[in-house]
């Protein structure tokens, strides 16, 4: 048993007492603050997680406040867009009302005034300035975004910047839209119509018989049509030799870019005329005479071109595929109506069935030769041919201008009736082409140059639009003074046409007009053409379409705004959940378990009191008291 010194006895009791007191006070401090972790030293590991969680929570709270800003801005914008939609709808209703013969000039005046007020409201919306900032001006919030320039055109003066607000860790949403995108990027259907007559066309030169394999095809860069460089031609699949250099392959290569250069290439029938022929009924043996790979074997039925032609057309029972032989005034002619190459071969063994000055069947030389057909290019505008080697396929680099119609026929009185041009044909070219003889004509669309149109209407001179009858067949018989109504276009053909005369009507959309000009045009139409039904129909009809498109554009923007608001709101919920979880996590680390802390406090208090008591007791223990 160790010896205890008196001061030690006191010191021990005192130490115990002080320790108890410190613990008691620590517990008491924690209970009063409710925190388990007061400083990082209390729990370094927990506190580093705590700092991270708090940081994440704060970041997310910042995102929430960003979302508030975004939602505030977007709902502001949404209200203005909604208002804009209402204004456009009103303008549209007024337009429909104005398109009426029974209106008095007073009525029209009041519609005009009303439209002017609407236009004013619309510019006011575009120049909306809540909180002193133009909301549709992009980043130039101190610049009035929509104004008239010196020429009286509506111009956008803002910029195209969309403010991006962060709503999620990697999600940004645009908090504004510019007047440019909402009101100046409207796809309008204001259409420029141009009409022309006549056609430009150029036909390639046919080759003379050339050795098979020596024909040049279109290679990359070899042929440029109206500035468009063509891709290399590919095999036509039917020619027995030089299949990439055939007329079919050439036309296909050209037509592959028709949407770019507008030129249509058509293949003409390939034709080869044998000259200086001697015809017998002697039999042709195998190898004597081969056309497109088919050996002509047998005896001609007569000693003339017709006899040989009959043999050729019947050889093997079917003749030569794609090639027809005929008697052309005593000379043999081969025709490939689809324009494929005609390949002629002889094996050099003397044949006695026939012989020709331009293709020697009796010679000692084996021959393998080919002839290519021709391609005709046509367009209602001038055709320019260029490239490094246009001669490869029989063209000459040049610009081929439109050839005027030979006849005196005219296309006149062109305007839109019935319905305004729809979106379907606002970029279309219509071709009215007279046949040979010019008693009939056909109507084509450039987008489908091989199918003649039907289904349009026509009425005769002296009749009205209401008398128009539908055309069900093509070609259509031509009567001077007939009026055609084609896809909303109205025009009259008159005069005497010559064969192959043509007229073209080209529609070209004018894009990206603004909705303010659209309304201004409507106002002008109402006041200018109010009493001219056809112009009024067209112009007001156009205005209605423009207003519809404006409405659609604003709706797109508005639903876009709505979508962004929804993204923000969804994100807000996600963020809320995250904040809740983070708060829970923080609390788990940082907060005190009050129940256990209080029971701890009670325990420590008991110990403390015991220590106090024992100190007092020890003090009383002294032998000196008993001396």
């Amino acid at each position: 048993m160790p010896r205890i010194s008196t001061p030690l006895m006191f010191q021990n009791s005192l130490n115990a007492l002080l320790d108890q007191q410190t613990r008691l006070s620590e517990t008491q401090l924690k209970i009063s603050s409710g925190k388990r972790v007061e400083t990082p030293a209390d729990d370094p590991v927990g506190s580093s997680r705590l700092l991270n969680l708090k940081q994440q929570k704060e970041d997310t709270q910042q995102l929430q406040s960003n979302i508030d800003t975004a939602l505030n801005d977007l709902s502001n914008e949404e209200v203005y867009l909604h208002n804009m939609q209402r204004q456009i709808s009103s303008a549209k209703q007024l337009a429909l009302r104005a398109n009426n013969d029974t209106l008095t000039s007073q009525d029209r005046q009041s519609i005009k005034t009303e439209l002017e007020n609407i236009l004013k409201s619309m510019t006011d919306i575009a120049n909306a300035r809540p909180n002193g900032q133009y909301i549709f001006a992009g980043a130039k919030t101190q610049t009035k975004p929509v104004d008239l320039d010196l020429n009286g055109n509506y111009v956008y003066l803002g910029d195209e910047i969309q403010r991006q607000i962060q709503v999620g860790s990697s999600i940004f949403i645009e908090a504004n839209d510019t007047a440019k995108s909402a009101f100046f990027q409207v796809a309008t259907h204001d259409i420029n119509v141009s009409q022309s007559s006549g056609e430009a066309s150029v036909t390639s030169a046919a080759t003379a018989l050339a050795n098979a394999g020596s024909l040049n095809a279109i290679t990359n860069g070899a042929l440029h049509v109206n500035g468009i460089s063509l891709d290399a031609a590919v095999s036509d699949g039917v020619s027995t030799t030089d299949s990439t250099a055939s007329a079919i392959a050439t036309a296909a290569a050209i037509n592959a870019y028709s949407d770019k250069h507008n030129v249509i290439a058509s293949v003409n029938a390939t034709q080869f005329d044998f000259a200086g022929g001697t015809y017998t009924t002697n039999a042709l043996a195998a190898g004597d005479f081969t056309i497109n790979g088919v050996q002509i074997i047998g005896s001609p039925v007569s000693t003339d071109a017709a006899g040989l032609a009959a043999l050729i057309n019947n050889v093997g029972g079917t003749g030569v595929p794609g090639v027809t032989a005929s008697d052309n005034g005593g000379q043999l002619r081969l025709t490939a109506s689809d324009g494929r190459n005609i390949q002629l071969q002889t094996d050099g063994v003397t044949a006695s069935g026939a012989n020709f000055a331009n293709f020697n069947l009796n010679g000692a030389l084996a021959l393998d030769q080919v002839q290519r057909g021709t391609v005709t290019l046509s367009d209602h505008q001038a055709i320019t041919i260029a490239g490094s080697q246009p001669a490869n396929v029989g063209f000459v680099a040049n610009t081929y201008n439109v050839t005027a119609n030979a006849g005196t026929a005219m296309l006149g009185n062109l305007y839109f009736v019935e319905k305004p041009p729809s979106t379907a044909n606002n970029n279309e070219v219509y071709l009215i082409k007279f046949d040979n003889p010019p008693t009939t004509f056909q109507v084509f669309k450039e987008s489908d140059p091989t199918t003649p149109m039907t289904g349009f209407k026509t009425y005769s001179q002296g009749q009205n639009l209401s008398d128009a009858v539908q055309v069900t067949t093509s070609p259509v018989t031509y009567t001077a003074g007939d009026t055609l109504v084609v896809e909303g276009m109205h025009f009259t053909l008159s005069g005497t046409p010559s064969a192959n005369d043509s007229f073209t009507i080209a529609l070209e959309p004018v894009e990206s007009r603004d909705i303010f000009t659209a309304v201004q045009n409507l106002i002008d139409s109402v006041s200018q053409y109010g009493t001219q039904p056809s112009r009024r129909d067209y112009n007001i009809g156009l205005a209605v379409i423009n207003l519809d498109n404006s409405l659609e554009r604003v709706s797109v923007i508005r639903s876009n705004v709505g979508a962004r608001m929804q993204v923000s709101e969804n994100q807000q919920k996600t963020n809320d959940e995250f904040i809740f979880l983070a708060t829970k996590g923080i609390s788990a680390i940082e907060d005190l378990d009050i129940t256990s802390a209080i029971s701890q406090l009670v325990q420590q208090k008991l110990s403390f009191e015991a220590a106090q008591r024992s100190l007092v007791q020890i003090q009383r223990l002294s032998l000196f008291d008993f001396l």
Binding site: L8, S65, S512
Partner: protein
């Protein structure tokens, strides 16, 4: 009988001294450091009477302290430990509370600042958000300043305490020396004096000394004690006291050193104090120093990156931003970071500039090479094995490309093929840029065969005007691969789109026709060739491009790493020494030599150390503290909300009938608004050379290619209307980077100059589905009051890992600091608790042996009293005996 008396007297005397000792013990029961004493008795030498030895009484042998010297030593060591840990805990607790507290720490202030920046970014047009941002910035700056000030306060406190502790140690040393003398004297005075109380006094002083500084003691035979400190410096030897003192560290006057002075020589013992309060103070200082450095690092990172980004934006008035915070590289700050050694002989003054801190760039990265000039055929360098390495891979030799007519094994195409042969290994792919050759002005006139050849093809032309020349050159394009472009003003450029070599030949004829940069009529035969530049792109975003090898210039590249490896600042201090030849820079935290050089210029660990003035002499030393003063110097430079550059300096506008809108043309980055050229040799220079203007404003316009697809765009200089660089190809499947533009010809005579890469200092991409005729204008953002593109970049900094070599964010670094201090504090606390309990144990052991137990003394008192009475009875008995004899004699 007299014997009996003597015996009684000796007993009384002995019991008296025992009682004295007990009383002494009782009296000193509460005396600090008192050790109980016991008096030992021994029988006197017996007297021989006849053949009988008879005891002659008792005598006191000695009065001794009941002590255990080993325990006392142990206790002293414990005390040394406790004191050291206590003082550390004290300081740690202070800074722990400072850094973690919401009111004094940085976390909260930084968060508020970030939030204010966000709010300003969300609403850049309102002055309220800007004013708030300014106020929050100021608050954050103040917070950093205050933190540093508080740390400084702790450091001053440490210095003050060091001084007073030193004084006390010297006092104690003097007292101990004096006590040693007294103890020796007392011990020598003889048997009846004892130095017990002096020894207690000495032990008490030694204990106090141990609390102040770690000591070792050696007891001498003459009862004196020698005290040593540090690694064996004398503090007390016999009666002589040594001395310690504090003095400024010669390398860093802001620090105090502890010096031991013994017999005229001095030893620095700052780092060898082995605990005690003084040792604890040094330890605390060693904790606070890196803490301040970390804070400084945070301040510097914020300052450098925020300033850099702020300068890339424009303020409400449309002016480019200035420094947002104070310039960390002001000349004063630079010089403050280097402290010349106290014994320096030379005049050298050094400065430390903090390097630009790169923002994380996910790549992919792109490096442009250099095109060659026109040189004689056969002189272009081909690529040999060993001349070029990319990402550590040796690139094979270049083989002739199939299209170049001259030097085909030294063409851009051949280099690209060689480099792309190792794509799988290098992770980068190469591309031949367009070969552009500016011929200069054309003097009209005809060329006949031989007079002017392009890639071996004769240009035959009447050359009457530009158009004719161009047509005749371009008719050969299919063969030559070269197109000619004019500007309508007879200035001709040749372009090989596929990047093949352009070979120009001219015989000795003297035609009238000639070019400024290719003289066809001077009667000399020319045969020259130009190689295109190549560019190298990393395939995957993260892959860096490291170009090396024996001669990367052979292919027009320069050795280097893209993006450059920039090491981050550390918390360490550095030491620079000069031995007359070499400068040696040492990082003190790990004692690593980070640089040795004969020139006084080092670029290490995120800073650049350079000689500012004067010359160093051998033996000169400098202490470099790159980060220590940063948070003190941290200040807000921007003074008004309107001056905060939240907007981008450029804006992109589309022309109204465009298919594409501004959404398709995006501003994707501002790189450099310094007004200084980004790339070398660029003819147009940086786009931000003039205030509030883009130099030049740019128009991007779309054209149909020869297939009629709108995949060609040209970039025009709107000031001159001239095209910049060759036609560019648009890829509709991705965002196309417009800049930098390579293969830009430099039209300045005398030419022909090599082509250059034009980098205006900003980045724009085009995406979407354009239409021929679509136009975009890139111009200066003069009125973008609600643009917050630059603010967005500033916000990004919060989440970017800008510190510790790209591993830590600003707040992460600070929070790491908080956690580190927290765990240091916690471990100091528990270590201190353990040390205290050890100290209490050793004290208890000492007390249990040497402490006075009053009950024990009371019992002894009773016992000795009884013995005393008995001895008195002996005398009484003696006296009775004597009386009996007297009376018997009287009789």
């Amino acid at each position: 009988m007299s014997n009996l008396l003597n015996l009684g007297v000796s007993g009384i005397k002995a019991q008296q001294s025992l009682l004295n000792t007990v009383s002494h013990n009782i009296a000193n029961a509460s005396t600090e450091g008192y050790s109980r004493q016991v008096t030992e008795l021994q029988p006197k030498t017996p007297v021989q009477i006849g053949n009988v030895l008879i005891g002659s009484g008792v005598q006191t042998a000695a009065t001794k302290r009941v002590v255990d010297a080993l325990q006392i030593k142990l206790h002293r060591d414990n005390k040394t430990n406790t004191e050291s840990l206590s003082i550390q805990e004290d300081f740690l607790l202070r800074i722990n509370n400072l850094v973690a507290d919401a009111e004094t720490g940085l976390s909260q202030a930084y968060s508020s600042f970030s939030q204010a920046l966000q709010a300003a970014s969300n609403n850049p047009g309102t002055s309220e958000t800007r004013t708030t941002l300014l106020a929050e910035s100021e608050k954050m700056v103040k917070r950093l300043n205050t933190l540093d000030e508080r740390f400084n306060l702790q450091l001053r406190d440490i210095s003050d305490q060091m001084r007073s502790v030193t004084t006390r140690i010297n006092d104690i040393a003097n007292s101990l020396a004096k006590l040693n003398v007294d103890i020796i004297n007392t011990a020598n005075q003889g048997q009846f004096t004892n130095p017990n109380d002096l020894l207690d006094q000495r032990d008490t002083l030694l204990l106090e000394l141990s609390g102040l500084i770690g000591t070792t003691t050696v007891e001498q035979g003459d009862s004196s004690i020698n005290v040593f400190i540090g690694n064996g410096q004398n503090l007390v030897v016999g009666g002589t006291a040594g001395k310690i003192q504090t003095q400024n560290n010669p390398d860093d006057p802001s620090k105090l050193d502890v010096i031991a002075v013994t017999q005229g020589s001095t030893f620095t013992i700052t780092d060898v104090m082995n605990g005690g309060r003084l040792g604890g103070l040094i330890q605390a200082r060693n904790i606070i120093d890196p803490t301040r450095a970390t804070l400084g690092r945070v301040a510097l990172t914020m300052g450098m990156t925020m300033n850099a980004q702020h300068k890339l934006g424009v303020d409400l008035s449309g002016n480019l931003g200035e420094n947002y915070f104070n310039d960390p590289n002001s000349i004063t700050s630079q010089l403050n970071r280097v402290i010349p050694g106290g014994f320096n002989q030379g005049t050298a003054i050094f400065g430390v500039a903090i390097n630009e801190i790169p923002r994380p760039d996910p790549g992919p990265y792109k490096v442009f090479g250099q095109a060659s000039t026109m040189v004689n055929v056969g002189t272009l360098s081909q690529l040999n094995v060993g001349e070029l390495t990319i990402n550590g891979q040796t690139i094979g030799a270049s083989l002739p490309d199939p299209v170049s007519t001259a030097d085909a094994n030294a063409s851009a195409l051949s280099f690209v093929a060689a480099i792309n042969g190792s794509v799988g290994l290098t992770g980068v792919s190469a591309k031949a840029e367009i070969n552009s050759l500016y011929l200069g002005s054309f003097t009209t006139g005809a060329f006949i065969a031989g007079e002017f050849q392009i890639n071996g093809q004769n240009v035959i032309t009447t050359g009457v005007d530009e158009a004719t020349l161009l047509t005749d050159i371009n008719a050969l394009s299919d063969v030559t691969g070269v197109k000619a472009i004019g500007d309508g003003n007879l200035n001709i450029t040749l372009v090989a789109k596929d990047g093949r070599n352009i070979q120009l030949t001219s015989n000795t004829n003297t035609p009238a026709a000639t070019f400024t940069h290719f003289d066809t009529n001077n009667g000399t035969a020319f045969n020259q060739v130009q190689r295109a530049a190549i560019s190298i792109t990393s395939i995957n975003p993260g892959t860096k491009i490291v170009i090396g090898g024996g001669a990367p210039s052979e292919v027009g590249l320069s050795a280097g790493t893209t993006p450059p490896d920039v090491p981050s600042l550390t918390d360490s201090d550095y030491s620079l020494s000069y031995d007359g030849t070499n400068y040696t820079l040492t990082r003190l935290s790990d004692q690593t030599i980070v640089g040795t050089s004969t020139t006084p210029l080092f670029n290490v660990d995120g800073f650049t150390l350079m000689l500012n003035n004067g010359t160093a002499l051998a033996g000169d030393k400098f202490t470099i503290r790159p980060t220590q003063s940063a948070s003190k110097e941290f200040a807000l430079q921007v003074k008004s909300g309107g001056k905060i550059a939240l907007a981008s300096p450029i804006t992109v506008q589309s022309d109204t009938p465009n298919t594409l809108t501004g959404n398709n043309v995006r501003r994707v980055g501002i790189i450099n608004t310094s007004g200084l050229p980004v790339a070398t040799n660029t003819v147009l220079g940086n786009a931000f050379q003039t205030q509030q203007k883009l130099s030049p404003p740019i128009q991007i316009q779309f054209y149909n290619d020869e297939k009629g697809n709108p995949t060609v765009y040209k970039v025009f200089d709107l000031n001159t209307g001239k095209q910049i660089g060759p036609d560019q190809t648009f890829d509709p499947t991705k965002d196309n980077e417009v800049f930098p533009i390579s293969s830009v010809v430099d039209p300045t005579p005398p030419g022909p100059n090599p082509t250059v890469v034009y980098d205006p200092g900003y980045r724009v991409t085009i995406g979407g589905a354009p239409k021929a005729g679509d136009k975009f204008i890139v111009s200066y953002n003069t009125d973008g009051k609600s643009d917050s593109d630059n603010a967005k970049e500033m916000i990004k900094m919060k989440d970017e890992k800008l510190l510790a070599n790209g591993t830590e964010t600003i707040l992460g670094t600070y929070n790491g600091l908080v956690t580190t201090i927290g765990s240091q504090t916690q471990s100091a606390q528990s270590n201190k608790d353990a040390a205290i309990s050890l100290e209490r144990q050793s004290e208890a052991r000492i007390q249990s042996l040497s402490g006075v137990n009053l009950d024990e003394e009371a019992a002894k008192l009773i016992r000795f009293q009884q013995a005393f009475r008995a001895a008195a009875q002996v005398i009484a008995a003696g006296s009775t005996l004597f009386d009996s004899i007297i009376s018997a004699v009287r009789g």
